[in-house]
Assembly symmetry: C2
Homo-oligomer: 175 residues x 2
Amino acid sequence: MKKYGFILWLTGLSGAGKTTLTQGLECELRKRGCLIEILDGDVVRTNLSHGLGYSQEDRNTNIRRIGFVANLLSRNGIGVIVAAISPYREVRDELRETTNNFIEVYVNAPLAVCEMRDVKGLYAKARSGEIKGLTGIDDPYEEPINPDIVCYSSQETIVESITKVTTFLEQENYI
Amino acid sequence: MKKYGFILWLTGLSGAGKTTLTQGLECELRKRGCLIEILDGDVVRTNLSHGLGYSQEDRNTNIRRIGFVANLLSRNGIGVIVAAISPYREVRDELRETTNNFIEVYVNAPLAVCEMRDVKGLYAKARSGEIKGLTGIDDPYEEPINPDIVCYSSQETIVESITKVTTFLEQENYI
């Protein structure tokens, strides 16, 4: 039986390719007639979490808020794609239990690759000491132990990554 | 042509009957086959706005967050019912402009009636000085100037109020 709504939760380092994969998935899933909503970590932070910082507690509060909103959408039949570093395993595991059809997608790229890409210039700033608490540099990233899907963005093409996700969604009767 | 999603934004004093009307509308609209999601001001405050207080700025931030979430749902075809005092006109008017199919429902009951009901015991606490900043007592409530619907909860039955809202939704092609 077809499942009702889902949350593709893309976790990974800054620069791992979460946004690129999000955009590709959005396009592909819309083409297939799915209702899709994107929750980007940075955008949600602006709208729901202004005033929160980057401590473990504040990061987790932000992630729980994204989860709350994602769940409202998912339980109404919407396919939600979340792109958020979400560095702490405990909160991701909590969301798996508390939200509707949570699917953990680990966007896995080596730190060296993310740092070379440095799309937002954050790694350079962290290395020069201009910013503190960047995940992967001086703040932890706890890898998923048992993610539903792993996309190796430095070793596979974007089409291969998208196909991995859509194949999973098909096999599990989400689409 | 049928409109896609809507936000029934119930504004009014504490005790005016927003929650009662919300429950009645939820039941009636679900019976008609609508996808309905409830955003209760207090519940959203717990999940999205923990740490915010009751200053004008904090109240408005909370209302904008509810509006952000309501808009995500509404633009995906969901009927959203928001029950929140939302005392400031400016932010309600802002949401009318920035969200998908915003419908202002003024749940209008005289302060004396709300205070007599005192469902949550807040008015007694405000009168005794135990709490400060209760809307209608020592914090402002700015009435809607041109609401889409007014329900006079102390003069009409709940069925009459529900019918007012559903008639509006029918006439405007929301349902």
